[in-house]
């Protein structure tokens, strides 16, 4: 491919190739401070290609390709090329990761112990993790939590945080402007702006942590904490995992160990301030 970029994010490395310079320039600016893979070999390859060859110049649209392909992944406008690169990295992880049980969850660490937050899109887990990352916690990741299959430790995957719609303004008040990517309007998920995690998250991206608390946040309801039975937690986490079925017995064992060892709760919150308070309260109780 004409343009290339390699990135190490936690224990996973990517090589991204693109037919255009723009998406990779934007990606390189957003991921300033990240290392290249030490051995020069990437775990996953992402390719951003013209949907059809002549469309590289005429109304270009970006098709996301790689080692693992979803045949119906829609092409994006070139203006959203940065989003295409991010989605491509997520897609390769979701379809191809075999070393870890992959949970679609945000995670943050304090005192060597990890908080896992999972929920449907819009539950606010990215925003909460990003906020915690600026308020005394280490952001481990906003999208995927990587559970070690043998030791049950959680590994960071601190890619750029994908902030959507109202979450953008929340984080713009919290974080200096130079850590943000461009504002991407009218994407399939609305307005998106990426946020580079802080130096603490980047500098410690090789450090795993022991899972200590699982939360199921839900934005938009009155403040509440609800208990969740362990069998329901297990079921919810299988649904939150993109590779549970592929991993077979190894995934079952890893998940059973996690659920058996971690307290969990569902939290409803009307605003992020309330959510942070609830998280801190439950974290103290779990200690």
């Amino acid at each position: 491919m004409k343009h290339r970029l390699s990135l190490q994010i936690g224990p996973v490395s990517f090589r991204i190739g693109s037919a255009w310079a723009e998406p990779l320039d934007a990606l390189a600016r957003l991921y300033a401070g990240y290392s290249e893979p030490e051995d020069g070999i990437a775990d996953f390859t992402v390719r951003l290609e013209p949907e059809q060859i002549w469309r590289r110049w005429i109304r270009p649209s970006v098709a996301i390709r790689g080692d693992y392909i979803l045949p119906d992944a829609l092409p994006l406008a070139l203006a959203h090329g940065l989003l295409a690169a991010e989605m491509g990295m997520n897609l390769q992880m979701a379809l191809g990761q075999k070393r870890f049980l992959l949970l679609h969850a945000a995670s943050a660490e304090k005192d060597g112990r990890a908080l896992i937050m999972t929920g449907e899109s819009g539950a606010g887990k990215s925003t909460l993790a990003a906020l915690l990352g600026e308020r005394g916690w280490r952001l481990m990741g906003d999208e995927f939590a990587l559970l070690d299959l043998d030791e049950g430790r959680l590994h960071p995957f601190p890619r750029a945080v994908s902030l959507k719609n109202k979450a953008i303004a929340v984080m713009e008040q919290e974080v200096p402007g130079d850590r943000f990517g461009p504002r991407l309007e009218d994407t399939p998920k609305g307005t998106i702006r990426h946020l580079r995690p802080n130096q603490e998250a980047l500098g410690r991206m090789g450090e795993s942590a022991r899972p200590a608390l699982i939360l199921f946040p839900r934005f938009g309801a009155a403040e509440a904490i609800r208990g969740v039975g362990q069998a329901e937690i297990f079921m919810r986490l299988t649904q939150a995992s993109t590779n549970y079925v592929t991993l077979g017995a190894a995934g079952f064992d890893a998940l059973a160990k996690l659920v058996g060892a971690c307290p969990a709760a569902a939290i409803d919150y009307p605003d992020t301030g309330t959510a942070i308070g609830l998280v801190e309260e439950l974290w103290r109780e779990a200690a």
Binding site: G229, Q230, A231, A249, F252, A256
Partner: protein, 92 residues
């Protein structure tokens, strides 16, 4: 007249953990995960002794557990049908 006889996979085909009183089972041959409540796990254990119809299964369960007659027979019939549908037991 004897009803259909059922059989369950051997123990090493099913991994099991108990969470909050429910059993979470990973069925290796199918790769499927099931969450089941009592008496389903007990039925699976009893069927591993060998093929059995509902009456024989009930007799095996009575050896290990203390319960009343008619209701238990209905419950065992219902659970067997569910377990068969889930692929955890099959006709012998």
């Amino acid at each position: 007249m004897a009803g259909p006889r059922y059989i369950a996979d051997p123990e090493d085909c099913v991994r099991s953990v108990t969470l909050d009183g429910l059993s979470v089972l990973f069925h290796r041959p199918s790769g499927m995960t099931h969450i089941v409540a009592s008496p389903a796990p007990e039925i699976l254990v009893a069927l591993r002794q060998g093929p059995a119809d509902a009456a024989e299964l009930l007799r095996r369960l009575r050896e290990a557990y203390d319960f009343d007659g008619d209701e238990a027979a209905d419950a065992v019939d219902a659970r067997l049908a569910e377990l068969e549908q889930a692929g955890l037991v099959r006709r012998a």
